[in-house]
């Protein structure tokens, strides 16, 4: 019974079952629009500022690193394109993932977990209201929406940060930065960034909900559940990022070639 392999399989099974139920209940009336708006506002309010603040140094670090590398190779003119691609395709979805999981997911997990131990969720089920439809669907949708919009914000702030650092600190030329930008980057790069953010929001929301619904024993269990939810989300998101990046690079022809 308590064999670790079985335990892991059962947890994954539960997780996918929750995902399927969430998908089904998304289309079940009545749709909880009010809850969705409240959750959207909440997740957005805890993530926007930190995301913007993190993305400036992140864009700068990438610009500095890529700038120094291209300088050694004698390809300074491509600094702009390279750093923009790195920001839009990789850095931005990952920053979104960290904030969505760390700020939004942990709050959602703690909220659901404490409702669970106060028997609120049981009471809801007893009253014939499905907690998945009522609470989890709006939360997961809110996470996905915020992730997509946040990704746009982080991309812009990151690119601007990179530009400022490259042009003012590394004495790159604005013209070269911008022209290499359009020589290497293309629209699908932003699409894949947004798609990644959407998937990350989905996974972070579902993991937070899954952990929050099954806290083990009392208030300490809720703390553990939040901790697990953040760690599991990070692991999953980085893994999924590798897969999505690999598939994207295979499927979409790159512009520079």
């Amino acid at each position: 019974m308590s064999n670790p392999v079985q335990g892991a399989l059962r947890q994954s099974g539960d997780f996918f079952a929750l995902g399927a139920t969430t998908l089904r209940d998304t289309f079940r009336r009545p749709f909880q629009l009010r809850e969705l708006i409240e959750q959207f506002w909440f997740v957005a309010s805890v993530t926007i500022l930190p995301a913007a603040l993190v993305s400036i140094p992140f864009g700068a670090v990438i610009a500095l690193q890529v700038g120094s590398l291209t300088q050694q190779l004698g390809a300074q003119s491509f600094t702009g394109g390279a750093s923009v691609l790195a920001v839009v395709q990789q850095a931005s979805p990952l920053i979104v993932a960290l904030l969505i999981a760390g700020a939004g997911g942990s709050a959602i997990c703690a909220d659901l977990g404490s409702r669970k131990i106060r028997e609120e969720l049981d009471a809801m089920e007893v009253m014939g209201v499905s907690p998945v439809q009522r609470l989890i669907v709006p939360r997961v949708l809110a996470m996905m929406l915020v992730a997509v919009l946040l990704n746009g914000l982080v991309s812009v702030v990151g690119v601007v940060g990179g530009y400022v650092f490259n042009v003012y600190l590394q004495h790159g030329t604005p013209g070269a930065y911008l022209s290499s930008f359009s020589a290497l980057a293309q629209l699908p790069d932003i699409y894949i960034g947004e798609f990644k953010a959407l998937v990350f929001g989905l996974i972070a929301g579902l993991v937070a909900a899954h952990r929050g619904l099954h806290p083990r024993g009392g208030p300490k269990g809720v703390g553990d559940a939040v901790n697990q939810s953040v760690v599991i989300t990070f692991l999953l998101l980085f893994l999924v990022n590798v897969v999505l990046t690999a598939v994207y690079l295979q499927l979409v022809p790159q512009k520079g070639m």
């Binding site: 409702r115 106060r118 028997e119 609120e120 049981d122 009471a123 089920e125 007893v126 009253m127």
Partner: protein, 316 residues
């Protein structure tokens, strides 16, 4: 009239630990039943199994045609609308005030107008004595008020079956007896089937029509209150008397050595049958009383016949 709940051969375990097994009983329609048991014998687990929140491994819980233990989920959701459940701590939604909490089931399941919802909610709040606290949040009120609000919320959809999880925990004796009276008055007014899970002796001896007791992973007894209150079963006697002589120890069960030692002490006296609570003056008499009298008389006759009839296989 309430609905009969039939429990057949119910067994529940968590991992390798069995909570109780082979529990069989019938909650008669419209009557009040109490499930007793020392702490940690799975009374709350039993209540949650009846409502279908926990899935027992074996057995059935029949409410009408629906088996709360194994029917498809949508049937269970439908059947739950017949229930009103009062949780141990009220289980109110922390983000809503009392009014919205109590109005929640009405807003979810009915298409009533807001004015009508207001009328019903205020009526129920008056019933449990919470008028004037509509705008308070659950975090701002005492445990007793939370319980009463939980009860009011359980009542708004006019349930046919009411389940109460430890209505007395965290209440002082005076409030507990008010609550006991409230439960009996409710039964007189709406004639719902009620199951109360508790270890409070005052409630157990004066409120219910039927008593049951869980101990050592099984249902020790379940039957009309007269039967249990005069029972010779050592566990039942010890528990109802509330003393230390008997099989129940501090750590759930006593070992044989202590039991042998105690045999030399005086046996515990029986508690007797205290009068049952009556509905408050002005309320209609409880319809369950008549039905129960007939049921218990029939039960008695059956026993008498069984006692005089020759055992099967015996030559006349």
């Amino acid at each position: 009239m309430g609905i009969e709940v039939t429990v057949e051969g119910l067994t529940k375990s968590f991992g390798s630990q069995t909570v109780w097994e082979d529990v069989t009983l019938t909650l008669p329609a419209g009557e009040v039943s109490v499930m007793l048991g020392p702490s940690g014998t799975g009374k709350t687990v039993f209540l949650k199994s009846v409502i279908g929140l926990l899935r027992p491994e074996h057995g059935r819980v029949l409410v009408g045609d629906v088996d709360m233990a194994s029917s498809p989920e949508h049937e269970i959701y439908e059947a739950r609308k017949l229930f009103g459940v009062m949780f141990q701590d009220g289980a109110l939604f922390g983000s809503m005030n009392l009014y919205d909490n109590i109005a929640f089931p009405l807003r979810e399941h009915t298409r009533k107008k807001e004015s009508e919802i207001r009328r019903i909610v205020l009526e129920r709040m008056e019933l449990v004595g919470l008028i004037g606290s509509e705008a308070k949040l659950p975090g701002e009120i005492s445990g007793g008020m939370r319980k009463r609000a939980g009860l009011a919320r359980a009542l708004v959809l006019d349930p046919q079956i009411i389940l109460c999880d430890e209505p007395d925990s965290g209440l002082d004796p005076v409030r507990t007896s008010y609550l006991s009276q409230l439960l009996i008055d409710l039964n007189a007014q709406i004639d719902a089937t009620m199951l109360i899970v508790t270890h409070n002796l005052d409630i157990a001896t004066t409120v219910p029509d039927n008593l049951g007791m869980l101990f050592r992973r099984r249902l020790v007894a379940f039957g009309p209150r007269e039967l249990l209150l005069t029972s010779d079963e050592p566990v039942v006697r010890q528990f109802l008397g509330g003393h230390r002589h008997g099989p129940i120890g501090m750590a759930e069960e006593k070992d044989q050595q202590t039991l042998d030692l105690e045999k030399e002490l005086l046996p515990a006296p029986a508690v007797g049958v205290p009068p049952q609570l009556e509905p408050s003056p002005g309320l209609p008499p409880r319809q369950a009383v008549q039905r129960r009298r007939q049921r218990v008389l029939a039960l008695q006759n059956q026993r008498r016949v069984a006692a005089t009839a020759p055992a099967p296989g015996e030559q006349p």
